[in-house]
Symmetry: C2
């Protein structure tokens, strides 16, 4: 079957060239006589794969030398506990900015490990807008301030970087990392599950400023202690080797395609096609404040939700899948990460137009 | 390059047929138009892959219905904390049987979460024998008794199942799961990182008896709470989807090749070839008590360790890799898991004979 247009929020579509290379190298990586999956993580082959993945990520994101890059396990939901376990110990309290279901979940889990202050909460707007920083009630003595830079369910995204002064800014970037250039130096810690813009699920990237290491609570499992992993170059336990290899291929692919500036242009262009159509239509709607709209996840509703099933069925018949919205929001959602092509977005809009014509 | 004979302790060699199928299906799984890596874990395709992996594992191991099978992240070192976090809460104390570096590490980490009683310790024998159960000092009020069923570094293996009465037996089976039939009903909990006998690193299988769920300490991260994961069918967080897919292919491969009884026969035959030669030789030696020798990891030393480098170099030249022993033991180690062929073991012994002839 030809490749579908996969609008899944994650795990998500990957660059075809990366998959092809992985298939080609499956039986024998670079003349080693082994699959990457079979390599000892202590062997020279995998050490080279790991080092190249990290170096390419550092180059793409411009990660300064005072930051460690860790490849860990447990995903962003794991990090909901791992972050406070490692960081909240300095002052015992942290600020959380709640902009959607994901940051809400992060804040809830953190309460197990210290005092959580909800510095701002977008829930009154039903998470359709990101509270302005002027409304945030930050605690200058907090161990850190946590944000989720892109909410996959509500479809809001930070298009600006909060200023938290000397309090470290921590961001869950699972769903928009590598989608545009950012200034890593403005963050204390960035974490991201790989399964949207970086590769397969099962590997979590953690970018952490050196001074934030070494404050873990005693209950922190060794495998999830940032300092322990930093000292062991992410090999305190056996890392998810194959997932790191694929992430490394994705990094190289992004670099070969112009890096993060090119990704930003590509993502803006795709999102514009979709939002412009939604705004011009009275059949479809997106509830998010224009300045906070996500370039990665575009939720939208049909005028009449009794047409939802027919819409999804028609899309599937045209090879467009995973468009159903999250159950907490309903309607539709198109996730259009880096690896989604403009062709895919245009095909979706063409189908939406056709469907509108038939049912308006 | 032709496939090497890969004696790595893990990640380790995988069945060639599994790798070939993975390569063939990389671009398009069963006409879905997607790679398995790209599938939403909530989509019908991955749900089917996940269900089949679990069903095949249940069939292979004869897992009774009163047990949950979880696919988690963090590996066995992660479980060193996750097990006590989930289980020690019932009585606040646990028995650990220390038979090598891995169980020693498990016992050390558990101390963070409760009182640890070292019920038996093989360290006085330099971990060359498993203490007889008659010597164990078990606490009848312990929350559980922990063993490591096979120690990859020292090369000792339990060839019998401890009787712990009504106290649940917990086993780290990372390095010998699926190598022979076992009676799951004798265990309260079994865990295993996949990267020896089951697939790529990055997925941990946990088999847990239903009555052991629901006792997690409050500090347990949600993503690592067995009950939370059991209720969500291992999808409380995004599971390591591709690793589960490969593990499922390995399960089917083991089943197609006769199941665990056939694996046991195959593993005994391979180990016999190697141990028989070691015992007959005065040039090589293995220090482990015969009744406790591992069928999976065979450490051995050359009479003169100044020959180690030459031995490894010669092996590499013949396509036999990862034979260097663990740094804490020195010498050599041949890991001969399910996927290592008799041909590979015979090639190793032939090389050892040749090397002995040249250097004796």
């Amino acid at each position: 079957m030809p490749r579908v247009f996969n609008f899944s929020p994650g795990p998500a579509t990957l660059p075809e060239a990366v998959l092809r290379q992985a298939a080609d190298e499956m039986m024998d990586w670079h003349g080693s006589g082994m699959s990457v999956m079979e390599m000892s993580h202590r062997g020279k082959e995998f050490i080279a794969i790991h080092a190249e993945a990290e170096a390419t990520l550092r180059e793409l994101m411009g990660i300064p030398s005072g930051y460690k890059v860790l490849f860990m396990q447990g995903g962003a939901i794991g990090e909901n506990a791992i972050v406070p376990m490692n960081l909240i110990g300095t002052n015992g309290k942290a600020d959380y900015v709640v902009t959607g279901d994901w940051s809400k979940k992060s804040a809830k889990e953190a309460k197990t490990y210290g005092t959580v202050n909800i510095a701002a909460n977008g829930e009154p707007s039903k998470f359709t807008a990101i509270p302005k920083q002027s409304e945030w009630k930050l605690d200058p003595a907090a161990s850190y301030v946590h944000i989720c830079s892109n909410e996959t369910i509500g479809g809001v995204e930070f298009h600006w970087t909060p200023d938290t002064g000397s309090v470290p800014l921590v961001a869950d970037m699972s769903s928009n990392i590598l989608s545009r250039p950012i200034d890593v130096g403005k963050y204390g810690l960035i974490y991201a599950g790989a399964q949207k813009n970086m590769g397969p699920s099962g590997v979590t990237v953690v970018i952490v400023r050196d001074d934030l290491l070494g404050h873990a609570l005693p209950v922190t499992p060794s495998a999830f202690n940032y300092q322990t992993q930093a000292e062991a170059d992410s090999m305190y336990n056996t890392p998810p080797t194959y997932s790191i290899y694929i992430a490394g291929l994705v990094y190289k692919h992004v670099k070969a395609n112009g890096g993060l500036a090119a990704m930003e242009e590509h993502n803006q262009a795709k999102a514009r096609v979709l939002y412009d159509y939604l705004d011009a239509s009275s059949f479809y709607s997106n509830p998010v404040a224009k300045e906070d709209r996500s370039l990665m996840n575009v939720p939208f509703k049909l005028k009449d939700d009794s047409l939802d099933e027919a819409f999804l069925k028609g899309a599937q018949a045209k090879g467009m899948i995973q468009l159903k919205g999250h159950r907490s929001v309903g309607g539709m959602r198109a996730s259009i990460y880096n690896a989604m092509s403009m062709e895919g977005v245009k095909a979706l809009v063409a189908y939406m137009q056709e469907f509108e014509k038939q049912h308006a």
